[in-house]
Amino acid sequence: MNAPLTLAHYMTVAGLLFLIGVFGALTRRNIIGILMSIELMFNAANINLAAFDRFLHPEGVTGQALALFVMTVAAAEIVVGLALLLAIYRGTDTVYAEDFNLLRG
């Protein structure tokens, strides 16, 4: 049981994480749950970037640098999302997506 980890392992984990994130984002009812699923998708991309950087293109640091950018921007995005959710929660006392149904047609 000491076979080395290869790129395929990392890519499988990242792919699974991404699919779990997509599934969660599409089926969760709680907005906080959707936000967490979206974070999973961002992190799947980060695993991919770090693994590609290490295994396929070890001559530079582009992949790692890009992963840092993704983390920062994702954090900024989620902050805005939580602020919007807080604004809604003050008015409606709910965080469930199906209760947001003023706009339709």
Partner: protein, 470 residues
């Protein structure tokens, strides 16, 4: 960092945006309107700067992550023009909190600066950061009427779709990086393979969200209906056109569609986007929602120009984009005037408008007819260009779907015109129209009529700015 000086205009604009955001802290609330004026004057200044240096070859060049060329400058002009007009509309929009004028206009300018970086970007890193700058500012702008539950809900839905699609796009970028070892967009670095194609398709979906293309369009009606009307106007024009510019650069100049077998995918997306937009718009009763679906349909027409993938198609996209600014801003400006006065954006608010405000109803009619593509208005020239480009490359079915869709769209555009001219007004409430709305409508209608009757100068301008540097 090579040639950072090429990005001076957008950097100046972003700096001015930050200055305005901080000025918000020191300017007393009752004088906050001055910040709106400062904001639109800054945008207009940068607009004039780019317009006057556009033909100067020393302002063009290739940098580390960007390339500034006539093509990008053209789309910077459309973006800035939209920004100026929308800030003017914002001056006459009473529902915006007066004491937050600085925040509002700073976010508008930041989002414009993001779009200007986007149209010049030749590297996925810059594309990602620019798109996020635009998205994050637009999420806040869409929810700016904090007391209005619809605005909150619309921006929440916008945010969820936006975050989801940027996550999809980042995953695509990671696959692109794996396939090529770089984030720079250059076909020479790329060995075609399944990983590269999957990466490009996921990146396309990320762009599709911003441009409201068919599988990623669900947020559009909700966000547009909830957002403050000047913001709706901005969202329906500027990000859409800038995304089309980025798509034309990535999938037209760097990775030609034909070489990667993506033509069919683009054609199907275009047909789907038009059809869904037009057929859903027919059943709307809220005018902002109706115009939201109409703007989805317009994105479909524009996508035909990209799916064609020829120089003529690209010219058609540029021509239609410029005309689209005028007709959509004009339509939304009238909608804002009527909606604010009536307190409702229901279609019945337009009953008998011509008996009370003949100028407004004529302007709205011109803009709607232009959106439908009726000659001799400007929208007709744009559509003619795009459809003939499709015919020229033998994609007959795409042109036929486009023409059929235009016919369908006439139905719901005329439904509004019918209400304005042939119904009795439901009440006698005055419809006050602010000076800035008059200005916006006048610019738009003059553009729609002028470029429809005499399109030669615009066509010459478009032909002179099709060049894309690698």
């Amino acid at each position: 960092m090579n040639n950072l000086r090429l990005l001076l205009p957008e950097t100046v604009l972003a700096t001015l945006a930050l200055v305005i955001a901080f000025a918000d802290l020191v300017v007393p609330a009752k004088r906050a309107r001055v910040l709106y004026h400062l904001a639109w004057l800054s945008a207009a200044g940068v607009l004039a700067w780019i317009a006057f240096t556009m033909g100067d070859a020393s302002t063009h060049g290739v940098g580390t992550l960007w390339s500034v060329d006539p093509f990008s400058q053209f789309f910077k002009l459309t973006t800035l023009l939209t920004c100026v007009l929308c800030l003017l509309l914002g001056l006459d929009y009473a529902e915006l909190p007066e004491n937050q004028a600085g925040t509002f206009s700073a976010l508008m300018l930041l989002s414009t600066a993001g779009l200007m970086y986007l149209v010049s970007a030749t590297d996925l890193l810059l594309i990602f950061v620019a798109l996020e700058l635009v998205s994050i500012s637009s999420f806040i702008l869409a929810g700016f009427e904090r007391g209005n539950p619809k605005s909150n809900e619309g921006s929440m839905k916008y945010f969820l779709f936006g975050a989801f699609s940027s996550a999809v796009m980042v995953f695509g970028i990671s696959l692109y990086f794996g396939a090529t070892g770089t984030t720079h967009l250059a076909a020479s670095a790329a060995a075609p393979g399944p990983m590269l194609i999957l990466g490009l398709v996921l990146i396309l979906l990320g762009f599709g969200f911003k441009a409201s293309l068919a599988p990623m369009h669900f947020w559009v009606p909700d966000a547009y209906e909830g957002a403050p009307t000047p913001v709706t106007t901005f969202l329906s024009v500027a990000p859409k056109l800038a995304t089309f510019a980025a798509l034309a650069r990535v999938f037209g100049a760097i990775f030609p569609l034909q070489a990667y077998d993506l033509t069919l995918l683009f054609s199907i997306m275009a047909a789907l986007t038009m059809t869904i937009g037009n057929f859903t718009a027919m059943f709307q009763t809220d005018v902002k929602r109706l115009l939201a679906y109409s703007s989805i349909a317009q994105a479909g027409y524009l996508l035909i120009g990209l799916a064609v993938g020829t120089p003529l198609g690209r010219e058609g996209v540029m021509l239609y984009s410029f005309v689209y600014v005028a007709m959509n801003v004009g339509a939304f400006a009238v909608v804002q005037a009527v909606g604010s006065a009536k307190g409702s954006y229901d279609l019945s608010a337009f009953d008998g408008l011509c008996k009370r405000r003949l100028g407004l109803s004529l302007s709205l009619m011109f803009c709607l007819l232009s959106l439908a593509g009726i000659p001799p208005l400007a929208g007709f020239m744009g559509k003619l260009y795009i459809f003939s480009a499709a015919v020229q490359t033998g994609q007959w079915w795409l042109a036929v779907v486009g023409v059929l869709n235009s016919v369908v769209s006439v139905y719901y555009y005329f439904a509004i015109a019918h209400r304005m001219f042939f119904k009795e007004p439901s009440d006698d409430a005055a419809i006050p129209v602010g000076a800035y709305i008059y200005g916006g409508v006048a610019v738009a209608v003059v553009g729609v009529l002028l470029f429809g009757v005499n399109p030669e100068p615009l066509i010459a301008g478009v032909r002179a700015s099709t060049q894309i540097l690698p």
